[in-house]
Symmetry: C3
Subunit: 661 residues, 3 copies
């Protein structure tokens, strides 16, 4: 593997530009050092202008133009954009929003994954494309659809989904008694006597039963998985030897990514560091942090997604790039190479950022980085989004950065993480439905732990909560609020195997059905933790709770949990307030629980556990990060200003290798 | 009465826990010193799993379990939660929200009070329950439904209500000419020529006619009253000797509580001090005040509701607790005993708060305080709401406070208020429709006066604007903007009888039809006030208006009114600005009007009037309050810190008796 | 013309008050010095209580009452308020909002301009009124409808408009190929194959195609123009010699005002300085500025609208007041004379403000100022809006100011502007759809240039982007983002003719179809500008970009554009950041472009250009403004405090003539 290195690509839209540009663009792309070209995800109306009337000529030409330059083509199924003739003939494929309104034609993603009619058309167009291009020598792989869940389309709250939901429930529960019990429907007389009475969990008078919501989210996720699986089956049949992937999104929560990734060869995701900062900046820092990183993005927000998608297929051996064996491979299918157009403010990236983002992607396991998009669109919704070329076809700033990037310095290889951070979409769904403290979400709590690890210079694998943990020194479960008996047993085995486990607040508060454990938190995990929940406290801004221990003081904000010890020892205790004298962080052998939400406390506890587990930590200044891959250590400075670190001067917005560390 | 004292209770949900817990819980409840258990308000689907198939066995057992311990049961009609079989068979019972959407099954309160179909089922289930339990020795009383108006369900903007509204209007007005005139429909050509043309006042292009809205609110309130009256009639018939009550809510404005209380034996309300603080904290203090009182709640927000509900049935002799004569009796049917789950942040109460809340409730006239709920729910929407027992059935913090509370120190008796604060839901509806200064509402203006009185150590009766005022030294009308000729005459008689009247701004601005008086403010009250409105001014944040008088200066914020004197004298005048030199507060004999919204000015004027009326005032520090009942004086410190007051040290979060004062 | 001077009027509603007041009011109006009375715009239900049953008696009497006093009547068509009988019989006339909901009867403007049924009734009632009053000696003119577009009613997103939109598109494009190409529908497979597939651009999953939106806005504007044109044709026929006008609104964007004004004799607008301040205060100054001008309004916000409406009919010779020749004439049809009722806060105007507003209106070209309204309404939606008389019929503060105003000091004549500010609703629609920096809108950018000019003491004509520019020394195009080849050629001719052109950022970024120029900004204007766009940058609050030149430093906020020079020279350059060293403001002969959004830079550049063009500038303190008309110079101080200026003391809230300047 070591003779391979990071490769680059771009997303191109031949159908958006005049025919006479295609060969020129392909030539320029090749000259720029690109390898892969992704195309056609929104081109249904050009492939099939009217039902059954296929027009392949233009796509033949386009593929040929890339092929002529030796570029490798990633083809997409065009299902994110059902054309007008299909939608108007079959309006029943349209999805419904939470407000009960039909989401209409006129942009993209206007379909319901559960629609049998749409499923049929999805299979039909997939088959037609695969028959035409499945064995074309230029075509090296496929992307299914595009960005499942984008624009809150992971779920439809009416129409086809409303019809399919009770059917799915009946398959799951068998009887209504089982469902009523599982959901706790007795609570507000919500018991059903007929499957047909059950609807999606929207437009209720007040909050819907979280168990009802949880199952609806599971149902919707399953619909996406089935929708995609149908395309995969056809592509496997008709396009042998080509990889199949999907481009996932930043912090998307509309479906279980682990479920939907199953069946893919490897996963890809779309990395927009500046746009995402406006929406996902860690709470508590607020506007100042957004301004500080406005031109670079926040390193941890980005790398969390890299680490998440690197681990999405878990232990499964990925088919990898071009059908070759790339064990940990994932791609960045779309990467910002200039300003985006969809955030409240869309600044220019700082000089050097496109290279920094690319280097970081590699360091976190990406085998390919593909820039969005080749030329800035001159029409329609995204005219203010940049590309490698400007509207006028001159090379934009990102183009020059890509041109100057030496790809060979980024050898493909392994990310040597000894720390696993556990993640689970069902815990996320439960947590965020009932946050109890509005400013703390599942992502925010998870990122607090992730950022603490990164600031200690530690490499992290984000893995599913049920993933194999053998081989890890430390496993961190920041917010796994759903812990089944099976999950508890799995963790217990890992701990017995020597893994040190660190849990955040709310761990094991909820059952797989979305209730709470009748025996209280930590439910089936209680013995392992050696404690039970005593209190949880939700702290409004301005209200905090002191924590003390080891001669140090910390301040818990937003959330504070305490425990009754039953074998565990207290590491830190609360001082003052309603939790005075109670445990804030506890340890039971190899298991540590941090109940107080305090970034500094989290860092102190993690540092101790890591060191104890033989994982070296390197405290890093703000905006400085180190990432390791293939035996190389990449030091990054995400600040606009130079930073003095370990007697070195790190220039602003820069990366360098520090292979001696 | 003096041998009676405050009694305690809890809200329990046997249907939410395994059958084998019932006897244990009843025993624990008894041991804790509880007297009353409220049950069954959400249990329709268990009483009648399918239409006409009643299942009483479980409820028989539950009632028996309480009875065996000598606990007294308050049974509820289960109408807040029509079951799925009823809703899906009769979707026409569902209510509509302001946006025109059906509010669907899946939580609670999904019905339209005006639905004849639902009315029939409401009577049927009430009759069935009353037949079964109406004379059970353990059953001492009934609660109708639960929390009318919760989740904005006081009004339905379509369906059955839309059909019933014109019918109600026709009964009220007789002719369309009368209605068109009363509503001033000529204003924007809004005159109707057929009753069927009239719809609820939603989804109009811009603001709806306030007279239209006012009558729709009256109509909706009447529907609730009629709905409840039908249940009362059945319960009176089948459950003789038992009381009938309803549990009202904090600051709920969806109906006229005086109208709906009529026919009840006494009223109860649901007291959630911490949750309500986040939503109803007095404006102008903002976040700092919310943080200061985050763990105790604000004393005045709570006691205002106590004082309101104590006076809801007015002069009517209440049947009282257990059918006995309790003159001023009301209950707190649900009281927070740990954190709630429905505010943006849900902190733990400070140590001692559950006792402080209970003592305060008693001091303001409560005969019973019943805690919500016995055991924290392990399923569905409220899993994060605390109970006296935790999820794991261990006693939570509130349990211990209840256990240590000596009930006998709280003798049942009279609250000796000499000050009446006048309140009227129709004034509220008119005020809040057209606030003119967005940050000042009816409640905010009313609470400014109420808080000023409490901070002067004065006990207050909140009474209807048309209540008998004889016996009061002072009547304060903070925001009674609707003053009819009858109301004016009533107040005039009271003043002639020696009551000193203090009015806030906007008093007597509006007619009973929702128009303004053609002769201007104060309409029929003009002679009594001895003045007419000159100007009103709405002040954005940052803009204020100086007021001066008696050698002191004040600052009016948000609102400033001035008057042309016609017999009255100026107490305070405006200095500078467009009102320069005009009257800000005036007096005409026993009638005083304060036109400037300034907490300090309000306090100064009230202090003077109270003293002049022989009501002693005792200025209190922030968070310290005194309340009197049954000859005892309860001093409360709501601050977390100790306060030095009158040479005493009041510990943080505490109460003590000061019977010498 | 010089013997003519400003005349005054009021808006009156005889149908809102008892019959016995009419003669009294008319007498009082005459005595106050008023000339014009506008009536009847909301009185349909009184003119035609049931379909076909006309009742003219009351209106005959009202007109006669004014006539008897020699007052001149402006009659309105009552179409803003279709009566209940019409709406309930023909619900298909109701409009739809963006959320897909029918906007119902119960307030005003509940109709769809595209409805053939409503058009028929509009013509019918117009004809009936015109037949009755068209030649009445008191009637001097007509107002069509009232405030087109108010309450976001310029567009209906369903019903009649949804049906008419594809028809209009077919007329415009002829073929679907042409439409698909023009809209760039290939972008997301949005190509249509049938006209019937096209709907209004709402309720799509995400952002709608801006070209689709742009055409929908054009369509909706055309519907308004046609609706009005039908009324004009009838009025011209039946009411010869009377003027026809419409009262436009503050910063309304729901239609192309230039298009809708065509066919009118002159335009009027409704001036509410205090209400508008809360909604339209220039961004970047925020709350402090709103508070500073809370009692006067901001002079530039007001005068911009005066200057806009003065130029709305462009070179067309206006028929003018009473059918006489008034070259630049426009009216203020409604002017605030006390507090309004529709802003979040509605303060009293400062003493003198009603006179100041009137003087300003005159100075900017108004021939008539008409106050809204005569007596404050005592019923319905606007009871908290002031009038010249209070509710109780006593003269309010504004009345006294009007009484004391000497009308003869305001001679009718010409505003001698040598600077044209270019404006275009299509550019506005495109700009605001894709702002890219959420805090900067078309209006905000335009006002930054306008305010800079006013603060330099310069008179400005706001004219259409395609208006004849000959005669102007300087033309400023702050935000004309849509520049067609024709517009570019037109500007080029103007520049060749000696006009100095100054452009703001985003100029000529978009094509008439709503795309971007494939050759990039400045598209067809590139040669004239001598440069091409290099980068644009969107700056979040807290992020700024330094600009330097001529020994001065500036700070760009929110937006920064840079250019590649191709003949032009750099006037200012960026320092630091991603634009370091690039051009921030450039000049190519008589054409200057300012790419950095910095009020100070804009002022510096404009000052230089103006001086170079022979336009004298006079830097003014904040809140002080000078305006010239008919050879007189009006100095205004809009601050509450006195200001020292040019060795004079300007009292707070005052105006004076400075004819020597």
């Amino acid at each position: 593997m070591t003779d391979q290195h990071l490769l680059l690509g771009t997303c191109d839209y031949p159908e958006h530009v005049p025919r006479d540009r295609w060969e020129t663009y392909a030539k320029q792309q090749k000259e720029l050092g690109l390898t892969f070209i992704r195309i056609a995800e929104f081109a249904w109306s050009r492939m099939e202008p009217r039902q059954g009337e296929y027009n392949w000529k233009w796509l033949d030409d386009a593929v040929e133009a890339y092929h002529a330059e030796g570029l490798k083509v990633v083809l997409c199924t065009p299902t994110p954009t059902p054309p007008a003739w299909l939608v108007r003939q079959h309006p029943e494929i349209l999805p419904y929003d939470r407000e009960g309104r039909v989401r209409d034609f006129g942009s993209r993603r206007h379909y319901d994954f559960a629609s049998p009619v749409y499923r049929e058309h999805s299979r039909r167009i997939t088959r037609a494309m695969a028959e035409r291009y499945g064995q074309h020598p230029a075509v090296v792989g496929w992307q299914t659809d595009n960005e499942f869940g984008c624009h809150d389309t992971g779920r439809s709250f009416g129409g086809a989904s409303a019809e399919a939901f009770p059917v799915w429930l009946k398959q799951k529960y068998g009887t209504l008694d089982a469902l009523n019990t599982a959901w706790g429907n007795v609570f507000w007389s919500m018991e059903y006597t007929d499957w047909g009475q059950i609807k999606p969990p929207n437009l209720t008078v007040t909050e819907t039963n979280p168990s009802h919501v949880l199952d609806f989210y599971r149902f919707a996720s399953t619909m996406i998985a089935r929708f995609q699986e149908e395309q995969i089956v056809i592509l496997r049949e008709l396009s042998p030897g080509r990889f199949i992937t999907h481009n996932f999104m930043i912090f998307e929560t509309g479906f279980d990514h682990y479920q939907v990734a199953r069946g893919l060869d490897f996963v890809t995701w779309d990395n927009y560091p500046l746009g995402m900062l406006e929406f996902f900046a860690p709470p508590g820092h607020g506007e100042a942090l957004k301004t500080h990183f406005a031109r670079t993005g926040h390193p941890d927000l980005i790398s969390f997604n890299h680490d998440l998608y690197r681990g999405l297929l878990g232990g499964q051996e990925a088919l990898g790039r071009e059908g070759k064996d790339t064990p940990s491979g994932f791609w960045v299918m779309e990467q910002q190479c200039g300003q985006v157009n969809w955030a409240p403010f869309n600044p220019l990236p700082a000089d050097g950022t496109v290279q920094l983002w690319t280097a970081q992607a590699w360091a976190h396991g990406a085998d390919v980085v593909s820039y969005f998009r080749w030329r800035a669109a001159t029409m329609a919704q995204e005219v203010m989004h940049s590309g490698l070329l400007r509207h006028d076809e001159t090379p934009d700033r990102g183009f020059h950065e890509v041109k100057e990037l030496e790809q060979a310095q980024f050898p493909v290889g392994t990310v040597p993480a000894r720390v696993a951070l556990l993640h689970d979409y069902e815990s996320l769904w439960l947590y965020d439905q009932q946050k109890h403290a509005q400013s703390l979400s599942y992502w925010a709590q998870t990122l607090a732990y992730y950022s603490a690890l990164r600031a200690l210079g530690v490499d992290v694998d984000v893995v599913h909560a049920d993933a194999d943990l053998s081989g890890y020194a430390v496993a961190v479960a920041p917010a796994i609020t759903l812990v089944s008996a099976e999950r508890a047993a799995h963790w217990e085995r890992a701990v017995q195997g020597g893994v040190k486990l660190v849990c955040g607040p709310r761990t094991a508060f909820r059952t797989p059905g979305g209730e709470t454990w009748a025996e209280g938190q930590f439910g089936p995990l209680s013995a392992l933790v050696g404690a039970k929940l005593l209190q949880y406290d939700s702290l409004r801004p301005g209200l905090s709770q002191k924590v003390s221990g080891n001669g140090k003081e910390f301040e818990a904000v937003t959330w504070a949990e305490s425990y009754r010890l039953n074998g565990a020892e207290a590491l830190y205790k609360y001082v003052g307030g309603p939790l005075d004298g109670q445990s804030a962080a506890i340890r039971n052998g190899n298991v540590t629980v941090i109940g107080a939400h305090s970034p500094e406390l989290i860092s102190a506890v993690l540092d101790k556990v890591l060191t104890g587990a033989g994982v070296d930590t390197t405290p890093l200044p703000e905006g400085v990060r180190i990432s390791r891959r293939s035996g190389r250590t990449l030091v990054q400075n995400w600040n606009l200003e130079a930073v003095e670190w370990q007697e070195q001067q790190l220039p602003g917005v820069s990366f360098q290798f520090l292979d001696g560390i």
